[in-house]
Amino acid sequence: MSRWRSLPEPTWARVSYPQIDFQDIYYYAAPKMNGAPKSLDEVDPAILDAYKKLGIPLREQEILAGVEPQNRVAVDAVFDSVSVVTTFRAELAKAGVIFCSISDALQEHPELVRKYIGSVVPVTDNYYATLNSAVFTDGSFVYIPKGVRCPMELSTYFRINEKNTGQFERTLIIAEEGSYVSYLEGCTAPQRDENQLHAAVVELVTMDDAEIKYSTVQNWYPGDANGRGGIYNFVTKRGDCRGKNSKISWTQVETGSAITWKYPSVILRGEGSRGEFYSIAVSNGMQQVDSGTKMIHLGKNTTSRIISKGISAGRSQNTYRGLVSAHRKATNARNFTNCDSLLIGNQCGAHTVPYIESKTSTATFEHEATTSKISEDQLFYCMQRGLTAEESTALIVNGFVKDVLQQLPMEFAVEAQKLISISLEGSVG
């Protein structure tokens, strides 16, 4: 605790960027960002608060992930931007895996952090990433050494408890040559009237033959039926396949947040590297989701696959926005994109905005998107067999998103399925 407090804010910032000027420029560029300083003031008391509350949220974590700690999921819990507890550190250390909060990592492994942080998402990347780089307070750090297959699933649990706060956490995962790690991320926030800001940055780096599987179940408070309150979720997530035949896979289930703005991306730099993106975005009430991915093919023989399923209900707006691009040198790049949208109710919107840029003739890109509603026939069939309209809808929706659910680790998949049913409650009948 005292160590956290002893770290002055500028130190954090300096790690990620030497040119301090950027901060001024960016703050000047968008004056509407008044949430940031407020949250910083609140960091110190928040640590104590979070510490006191520790018992309760950890139990919630167990419920959320559907697992007991004995199931050997190492957890790093982050409350209001500060990492409060990291479990199983010793056991992981035996395997050579470093899994700790990023504040500890700065103390214990400064050379690793300095080498990789900001190398995937540069400080100047975008508005919220810059804000994060300037004020990020904590997050998780994972380092998998050469040839190690991480013995357990790693998990981070984020929660925003404080009123009116912004959460700015930063996650950095490095997988050295031939290693593998599966990382889970869960997010929740209690009900509040005010809008809260969540602006995280996640950076993944894979070396030769390494693989990172990153799964997210996001269930921030989405605001009430009239759109009051809820989290603004502005996240920058990017992976960099630096080595040959490396692989990064993003899987996300987005059910919460008032506004989601999130594009987990993969830079396919290494020869033969592979990027995957599986997403389910469910929006209900007044939620707005604008999510998608970027697959940037730079190396030869790189492949990527995008499966996105959007479900909009109530008065929500759900957008898929994605970019697939092939650089001139990305010979034989291959992409397949499939984004399907399902509409429930006649006041919602589903939009698709893909960008497909090919600069080499040997690249093969395919993109397909469909939008439809739940067919009357399917509903009728289910209801005829004694299911209620709501149950039938949930069943059909779960079938619709099955491709993506299969990509999630088992505990998460069960949880995600329930979450989807819950978030669609009240959308039918």
Partner: protein, 447 residues
């Protein structure tokens, strides 16, 4: 990044702003609509990469200088310009010829049920149909269209009477020619009354390598139950910066088929704005583009389904890109909240023939109604090796095999033209393009 908004104009913008006051006095018709349109341009300037709709086509960079607006050609110039034989010559029941954006002559007889008035004359006399010009809200704010409205010199106002089944196509030939680069702005308004049937064919031709700046716009307003077919051929001069806009306002149960074939021009952009204002209309909008050298072609499309039942729209864009050319497809289907039962399908397929070629696809769906079936697909890649191998293993040379595949690929977009003779002419132009390509490859192989 804090970018200060500045009012610094590029040389081309400054030239347009400087010339407009003097020009508008000499151009036909009332000045007010021109001034209004010019204000739209002033507000946005020439579109550049920062403007989302022009993300892949930087007009500001392509138009370093604004070419002077062409004066009305004299008889000698007209004769010279019309000397080159248009590939679509003789296809129209009636053909209106335009040189540098001015009407120079009409051949054939105007079919019964049709009235055609040259635009300059219509503007001068305050033709009643002009009240319907520029009324499609969907296209308002478009810079290319605004510039056309501000500078339009001539064109045609076409009226097709209710129930008229017009025999033979109405053909418009636009030729741009001159000793130096010039700018042209021609405009066509076609109002098709309820139940009428008509085919409009436009051909845009330019000679030589000069960087002419052409900007044409065709507005189609189709009454309930009308059947409108539209064919556009782009054969601009090699250096041309050619902008064209088609707007279509579709009444209930109308049918529109529009096919654009683009072959030459350094930077060409064809925009389509189609609105389903009445229920149950149907539109088939196609594009066939063949590019080589350093050419850049952009097909941008916005289709709005705004009535219930939302109707059916089909879009098929086929692009062939060789050498270091680049192609763009931007398509957007909008389904308004009440436009239930809309069925929209959009496809953009591109074949890249060389390592330096590039294709940018942006197919968008914007859907606010739930009882719809909308889909889009976009592909780009090289010709299928297996198919090539199949053909070559049967004794067909590589160049021929490629030509066969390209022809059938592009032909799919042309085949929706019902008029057989015109369809054949366009297929012929594609074959010609392929022949030139084959000759180039053979010459290269011989070296």
């Amino acid at each position: 990044m804090n970018v200060k908004v500045t009012t610094i104009r590029t040389a081309a913008e400054a030239a347009l702003i400087e010339r407009f006051p003097a020009l508008k006095a000499g151009l036909p018709g009332p000045a007010a609509p021109r001034e209004q349109a010019f204000a739209t341009f002033m507000a946005s300037g020439l579109p550049n990469r920062r403007v989302e709709a022009w993300k892949y086509t930087d007009l500001r960079a392509a138009m370093r200088e604004a070419a002077p607006l062409a004066p009305k050609p004299d008889a000698a110039q007209t004769t010279v310009a019309l000397k080159g034989n248009s590939p679509l010559a003789g296809q129209g029941a009636v053909t209106l010829s335009f040189v540098n954006g001015y009407h120079v002559g009409t051949e054939g007889t105007v079919p019964s049920g049709v009235t055609i008035v040259p635009l300059a004359e219509a503007l001068g006399s305050g033709h009643p149909l002009l009240a319907r010009m520029g009324t499609l809200a969907l296209a308002q704010g478009d810079t290319a269209l605004a510039l056309n409205t501000a500078f339009m010199t001539d064109g045609a106002v076409i009226h097709v009477a209710a129930g008229a089944e017009v025999d033979g196509p109405i053909a418009l030939t636009f030729v741009t020619a001159g000793p130096s680069a010039i700018a042209t702005a021609a405009r066509v308004l076609m109002v098709v009354e309820a139940g009428a049937k008509v085919l409009l064919v436009e051909s845009h031709e330019g000679q030589g390598k000069l960087a002419h700046q052409t900007n044409t716009a065709v507005e189609i307003i189709a009454g309930d139950g009308a059947d409108v077919q539209h064919v556009r051929l782009g054969l601009n001069s090699e250096g041309a910066v050619a902008l064209s806009t088609l707007t279509a306002d579709l009444g209930a149960a109308t049918s529109l088929t529009s096919v654009n074939v683009a072959l030459t021009g350094a930077m060409v952009r064809h925009q389509v704005y189609a609105r389903f204002s009445g229920g149950d209309a149907r539109a088939q909008i196609n594009g066939a583009t063949l590019l080589q050298g350093q050419q850049h072609a952009d097909s941008t499309l916005v289709v709005e389904h705004a009535a219930e039942p939302g109707g059916e729209s089909r879009e098929l864009f086929r692009t062939i890109i060789d050498d270091e050319a680049s192609g763009v497809f931007q398509g957007k289907i909008i389904v308004q909240p009440h436009a239930q039962k809309t069925d929209g399908r959009m496809a953009s397929n591109a074949v890249l023939l060389s390592q330096g070629a590039a294709m940018y696809n942006k197919p968008e769906l914007e859907i606010f109604a739930d009882d719809v079936a909308c889909a889009h697909g976009a592909t780009c890649g090289a010709l299928d090796d297996e198919l090539l191998f199949y053909l070559m293993s049967r004794g067909i040379s590589k160049a021929e095999a490629e030509a066969l595949m390209i022809e059938s690929f592009v032909g799919a977009a042309i085949d929706d033209i019902a008029h057989e003779a015109i369809r054949d002419v366009l297929h012929g132009l594609v074959q010609e393009w392929l022949k030139v390509r084959a000759a180039r490859i053979n010459a290269g192989a011989g070296v």
